[in-house]
C-alpha cells in the first residue's frame, strides 16, 4: 500500500513539473505524410535550436492520418503528398490551404544483392504491381536490362498498409502509364492492391524490401538513401533513362506551365528528356482562418515556422535530396500564406 502511495505521489510530482514547463512553451502539433518526414524532422530540429520556446512536433503517421486529423482539427497542421480530393475539402469544417513545401522523387527500391544496376519502365512497374510479372527474369524485364543477369527469383511486391500520399503519387504515375491500372486500381491514398505485402509508412515499405530478397517497393528517395537500399533508374515519357535526383524533379516541375491557384498539382510522367517520372509535391495543410485555435501566440508561431520552411528551410532540402520550390511557386506560396488570418487579421505581414 505504501508503495502504491509513493508511486502515485511520484507521478503527481512528475505531472506537476510537466505542466509547469508547459506554461512558458508553445506547443504545435502536426500529423501526416511520411514522405517528407526526414526533412521535417531536420527542419524542426534546426528551428528548435533557435526557437527553444516553440515545441514543434510532427508525427509521421501517413498522409491519410494527416488529412483526417486536420479535417477533425485534432492537429494544428497536416502533411500530405496526395492533395485532398474535392469531396474531402467539402467535408472539412472550413477552407483548408495546400501549401507546397518541397518536391521529391520516389524510387523503386529493390533487394537483389548481385544486381547493381536496374532499369524499369512505367509499364513494367505497373505489370509488376498488377501481379502479371512475377519473376525477376521475366522477358519484359530482361529486355529492359540487356547484359544484366537477372535471377530466376520471385518478385515480392511491397506497398503501403496505411493511407499514403506516397501511394497517391505512385498510383497517379501508374494511372498515366497503364490503362489497366487506371481501370482496375485507380489513383488514391489507399487502394485495393492486386498483390503484395503491406508496410506502415515509407519506413515500413523500406523495411519489407530490406528484409526480403527479391523485394521491390516504392519509397521517397531519402528513405532509400537512409536505409542503404538500391533503387532502379526509370525510363521516362521521352524514353530516356533517368536516375532519381533533384535535377530530375526540377526538370519535371518545369512542365507545369500554369501552377493552379489551389496548388493541387501532379508532376508525374512529365515530358522532357531529363524529367524524372515519379515525383510530386508534398503539402502542408492548414486552415485559412486560424481563429479556431484561439491562441494568438500559437498561431503566430505556427505561421512563422511555415514561413521559415518555405524560405530558410529550402536550402536544407537539398541535403536530403528534396527539390526546393521553384521561384514562381515560392511567390505563389508567399501570397497564399498572407491570406491566412486570425480574428480577421492577417497573421503574416
Amino acid at each position: 500500500m505504501r508503495l502504491l502511495y509513493q508511486v502515485s505521489v511520484l507521478s503527481m510530482l512528475v505531472l506537476a513539473s510537466g505542466s509547469s514547463v508547459r506554461a512558458e512553451n508553445i506547443s504545435i502539433q502536426g500529423v501526416g505524410a511520411t514522405f517528407p518526414a526526414p526533412l521535417y524532422a531536420k527542419w524542426i530540429f534546426q528551428y528548435n535550436s533557435t526557437h527553444a520556446n516553440v515545441k514543434l512536433d510532427y508525427q509521421a503517421l501517413g498522409s491519410g492520418a494527416g488529412i483526417k486529423q486536420i479535417t477533425e482539427r485534432i492537429a494544428q497542421f497536416g502533411g500530405t503528398d496526395g492533395p485532398m480530393t474535392d469531396e474531402q475539402l467539402k467535408d472539412a469544417p472550413a477552407k483548408i490551404l495546400h501549401i507546397p513545401m518541397v518536391a521529391g522523387p520516389e524510387v523503386m527500391v529493390y533487394n537483389l544483392p548481385d544486381i547493381k544496376e536496374l532499369k524499369l519502365s512505367g509499364e513494367a512497374v505497373a505489370e509488376i504491381y498488377l501481379g502479371r510479372i512475377t519473376k525477376w527474369n521475366d522477358p519484359k524485364l530482361t529486355a529492359l536490362n540487356p547484359g544484366v543477369n537477372l535471377p530466376e527469383k520471385d518478385i515480392v511486391v511491397a506497398h503501403r498498409s496505411d493511407g499514403s500520399g506516397t501511394t497517391w503519387i505512385f498510383t497517379n504515375f501508374l494511372c498515366k502509364v497503364s490503362p489497366d491500372w487506371k481501370n482496375r486500381v485507380k489513383n488514391a491514398t489507399s487502394v485495393k492492391w492486386p498483390i503484395g505485402i503491406g508496410g506502415k509508412g515509407n519506413d515500413g515499405v523500406a523495411k519489407v524490401v530490406q528484409t526480403t530478397e527479391g523485394g521491390i517497393g516504392y519509397v521517397e528517395l531519402a528513405y532509400a538513401e537512409q536505409s542503404h537500399l538500391q533503387y532502379a533508374s526509370q525510363i521516362n515519357k521521352a524514353g530516356k533513362v533517368v536516375r532519381a535526383s533533384i535535377d530530375g524533379v526540377v526538370a519535371a516541375q518545369k512542365y507545369i506551365t500554369e501552377f493552379p491557384d489551389d496548388m493541387r498539382v501532379s508532376i508525374t510522367d512529365e515530358p522532357g528528356d531529363d524529367s524524372y517520372p515519379i515525383s510530386g509535391y508534398t503539402y502542408l495543410l492548414i486552415y485559412q482562418d486560424l481563429s479556431y485555435l484561439k491562441n494568438k501566440d500559437q498561431v503566430t508561431e505556427l505561421m512563422n515556422y511555415v514561413n521559415w520552411c518555405v524560405h530558410e528551410g529550402q536550402e536544407m532540402a537539398k541535403e536530403l535530396n528534396f527539390a526546393p520550390l521553384p521561384d514562381e511557386v515560392q511567390k505563389k506560396v508567399e501570397a497564399e500564406l498572407k491570406t491566412v488570418v486570425f480574428d480577421g487579421q492577417p497573421v503574416l505581414k
Partner: protein
C-alpha cells in the same frame, strides 16, 4: 470457510440493528457501497464497451448486414467493405498457432506436474510465466529480426521442398518464400499462447484427485497410462485452456501486425501475406477519413469482441467445471491461483514428499512396449518443456544482446530527432512512466474495490455472479478494442488524442487483473480473522481496512504489480489514444509521448540507427517488466510464508 463467514454475517446483521454509533454505521455503509460501486462499475464498463462499439458499427450493420461477414472485398477506394479476408486471416493464423502451441504446452504442463524434480517446478513455472509477461511488441520485433529472415532463407524453402511436394497439402506451402506471412504470424502467436495454455493446463492437472493416479498404478498402469488417465479426467479443463489460448491469439495485435504482411486477400498458401481483424484495425483505423470506412472498421471490432467474449466465456465455463468444488468431482479443489494448496505443499519440505515423488519412478513396466511408450512420451514431455524454456532464453537473450549493443546515454538524455543527429527517447521514457502512473490511478482503486466486493460482500448474490462474469469478459477483451473504446469515448469527445485517453485505456486493461487477484487474496485470509475482529466489536470498515486488507496486503500488491507489468508493455491501446510526440510536453490533455509507440515506430523502420535505439528501449522496457514480475514473485513468497 464458507460456514464461518455466514455465521459472522448473521451475527453482523443482528448487531447492525442493535449497536453501533451512527458514525460507524455510516462508515460501514460507505465501505459496502464503495465496494459495490467498484463491482457495478465493471458492469457499466462492459455495457459501455458493447454500446459504443454497437453504436459506432450500427450504420455499417444497417448497410451491409450479415453479408459483411462473407464479403471478401475490402476496397477503400470504392468504399466497399467486407470482413471475410480478415476473419479468414484471424481464424487460420490462430488455428496455426494452436496446432503448434497445444502439444508443446500440454507436454510442458505434464512435465511440470508429473515429471519435474521438485526444485525445478517453481523456477520453471516462473520462467514460463515470464514468457507471458514479455510485451507483444517484443515478440513482433523478434519476429521481424530473427524469425522472418530465418523463414525466408531456410524455413520456407525447406517446407516447400518437403511438405510442399505433397498433393493438396502442398498448396499450403507454395508461392514465393517471403517471410512476412501467415506462417510467421502463426509461429509468433504460438510462442505467445504457450505460457497461457501451459499454466492453465498445469493448474487443471494439479487439481485432478490423486486417487485417480494411485488407482491407475494399483491396476498396473505404466507412467504414461496413468498420465493418460489424468489427462482424460481433466480434458474439459485442458480444452478450456486451449480455447483461452485461442481467444488470446484472436485478439493479438502488435506482434501480428509486424509479421503478417498486411494484405487484405484470401490466399490458401501459408507463405502468403494476410491480415487479421486486429491488425486491420491497427493499420487502417487512424486514417479512416470517411464515416463509412470508420463504421466498417468498428463493425469488424464488434465482430472481434463478440468472438473473444464467446471464446472466453466458453473457456472459463469449461475450466471451472473441472476445477470448482461441486463440478466434475467433489471435495476441496485448488483454485486457479498461483498460490494453490499444491504449490504451497511443494514449498514446504516436510510430509508430502514421499507421496509426491513415489509414483513418478514407475516409468518401467512389465510389458516392454508399454514401458517403451512411457519412456518416449516422458522424453517428449521433457523436450516440450525444454523447448519452451529455450524459446524464452532465445528471445530474451536476443533482446539483451541487441539492447546492450544499442544502449547509450543519449537514449536517456535526448529527444527523438532526425537521422544522423544524436537523439534519444527521454520524453518517451518519462511519458510512459506518467501514463502507467495515471493508468494505475484509474485502474488500481477500481480493480481493488471490485475485488473487495467480490470477496467480501457479494456472498453468492446474482449481482456478484454477473460482476465475476463481467470481469472475465474484460480480462479477455483484446487491447486494440480497449484503445478503440477510449478513442470513441474520449478522443472523439474532447477532439484530441491525449494522455488522459491513453491512461484511461491502460487503467481499463489493468482493472480485471487487479480485481481477480484481490478477490483471490482476500479469500485466502482465514475466516477466523473476520470472526476475531467482529468479536472485538470491529465494524465492517475496521475489519476490512485494519484486519483483512493488511493480512492480504502483499498478495494484493502482487496483483497490482502484475497489472502494472501488464500495462507497461501495452502498445495497441495507445495507438489511437495518445498518438505519440517528439517533444517533452507532458500535458495529459494533449498528445503524449510513449515508449512503446516509439519502439513500434523504430522497430518497423529500416535505418540501422533507429533499430538500435528500438532494441535498447525494448531492453529497458523488458527490464522494468521483469523487475516488477520478480518483485511479484518475491512478494508472493513472503505472503505464502506469513499465511502458512
Amino acid at each position: 470457510m464458507s460456514t464461518a463467514v455466514v455465521s459472522v454475517d448473521e451475527a453482523r446483521a443482528k448487531d447492525d440493528k442493535a449497536v453501533g454509533s451512527w458514525f460507524n454505521k455510516a462508515l460501514d455503509r460507505g465501505t459496502v457501497g464503495l465496494a459495490t460501486a467498484g463491482g457495478v462499475a465493471m458492469i457499466v464498463l462492459v455495457l459501455l464497451l458493447a454500446g459504443v462499439l454497437l453504436n459506432g458499427a450500427f450504420p455499417a450493420i444497417m448497410t451491409y448486414g450479415w453479408r459483411f461477414l462473407i464479403d471478401s472485398d475490402w476496397d477503400p477506394v470504392e468504399m466497399h467493405f467486407g470482413a471475410l479476408p480478415t476473419i479468414y486471416g484471424t481464424l487460420i493464423s490462430s488455428f496455426l498457432a494452436l496446432l503448434i502451441a497445444v502439444p508443446v504446452s500440454i507436454g510442458a504442463a505434464v512435465f511440470l506436474v508429473r515429471l519435474s524434480p521438485r526444485w525445478l517446478v517453481s523456477p520453471a513455472s516462473f520462467l514460463i510465466e515470464l514468457l507471458a509477461a514479455i510485451p507483444s511488441i517484443a515478440y513482433g520485433f523478434w519476429g521481424i529480426a530473427v524469425l522472418v529472415p530465418f523463414l525466408q532463407r531456410t524455413g520456407m524453402p525447406f517446407l516447400k521442398a518437403t511438405l510442399g511436394q505433397l498433393p493438396v497439402v502442398g498448396k499450403l506451402f507454395s508461392g514465393p518464400a517471403v517471410g512476412l506471412s501467415m506462417l510467421a504470424a502463426g509461429l509468433v502467436m504460438a510462442i505467445m499462447v504457450i505460457p497461457i495454455i501451459t499454466s492453465v493446463t498445469r493448474d487443471v492437472l494439479r487439481s485432478v484427485p490423486r486417487e485417480l493416479e494411485e488407482g491407475s498404478y494399483a491396476l498396473g498402469a505404466s507412467w504414461w497410462q496413468a498420465t493418460l488417465a489424468v489427462l482424460n479426467y481433466g480434458k474439459l479443463g485442458i480444452f478450456g485452456a486451449i480455447v483461452l489460448g485461442f481467444a488470446r491469439a484472436v485478439g493479438e495485435t502488435m506482434a501480428v501486425t509486424m509479421v503478417i504482411g498486411n494484405c487484405n486477400d484470401i490466399n490458401f498458401s501459408l507463405f502468403a501475406p494476410s491480415q487479421t481483424m486486429a491488425s486491420l484495425l491497427a493499420n487502417e483505423f487512424m486514417e479512416a477519413d470517411k464515416p463509412v470506412y470508420a463504421h466498417a472498421l468498428i463493425y469488424i471490432a464488434f465482430v472481434l469482441l463478440l468472438l473473444t467474449v464467446v471464446m472466453n466465456g466458453l473457456a472459463r465455463l469449461m475450466i471451472s467445471r473441472v476445477m470448482s468444488p461441486g463440478g466434475l468431482f467433489h471435495g476441496k479443489q485448488a483454485k486457479v491461483s498461483p498460490f494453490s494448496a499444491e504449490q504451497k505443499a511443494a514449498h514446504d519440505s516436510s510430509g508430502k514428499t514421499i507421496e509426491f515423488s513415489k509414483p513418478r519412478i514407475v516409468l518401467r513396466h512389465s510389458n516392454p512396449f508399454v514401458s517403451g511408450t512411457s519412456t518416449v512420451m516422458a522424453v517428449l514431455c521433457v523436450c516440450a518443456a525444454t523447448l519452451t524454456l529455450l524459446l524464452l532464453a532465445a528471445i530474451t537473450g536476443y533482446v539483451v544482446y541487441q539492447g546492450i549493443a544499442g544502449l547509450s546515454i543519449e537514449l536517456f538524455t535526448r529527444l527523438p530527432g532526425p537521422l544522423g543527429m544524436p537523439s534519444g527517447m527521454r520524453n518517451c521514457i518519462v511519458g510512459t512512466l506518467i501514463l502507467i502512473g495515471l493508468g494505475s490511478m484509474f485502474g488500481i482503486p477500481l480493480g481493488m474495490f471490485c475485488g473487495i466486493y467480490l470477496a467480501e460482500f457479494s456472498k453468492g448474490s446474482a449481482l456478484g455472479k454477473v460482476v465475476r462474469m463481467v470481469v472475465d469478459v474484460l480480462a479477455g477483451t483484446p487491447s486494440i478494442i480497449v484503445g478503440l473504446l477510449a478513442n470513441q469515448l474520449i478522443v472523439l469527445q474532447t477532439g484530441t488524442p491525449s494522455g488522459w485517453a491513453g491512461s484511461a485505456a491502460l487503467g481499463f486493461m489493468m482493472c480485471p487483473i487487479i480485481a481477480k487477484t484481490t478477490e483471490e487474496m482476500l479469500k485466502l485470509v482465514p475466516a477466523t480473522y473476520r470472526e476475531a475482529s467482529h468479536a472485538l466489536a470491529g465494524t465492517r470498515f475496521h475489519t476490512l481496512f485494519y484486519v483483512i486488507l493488511p493480512a492480504a496486503s502483499s498478495g494484493i500488491i502482487t496483483g497490482v504489480m502484475l497489472g502494472v507489468a501488464r500495462i507497461a508493455g501495452e502498445t495497441a491501446p495507445l495507438l489511437f489514444t495518445v498518438r505519440g510526440s517528439d517533444q517533452d510536453t507532458y500535458n495529459p490533455a494533449k498528445p503524449f509521448p510513449s515508449l512503446t509507440l516509439q519502439i513500434f515506430k523504430y522497430a518497423t523502420s529500416a535505418p540501422e540507427e533507429w533499430r538500435k535505439q528500438a532494441w535498447a528501449a525494448m531492453l529497458l522496457l523488458i527490464f522494468i517488466i521483469l523487475v516488477l514480475s520478480a518483485a511479484v514473485r518475491f512478494a508472493s513468497r513472503s505472503r505464502t510464508a506469513t499465511l502458512a
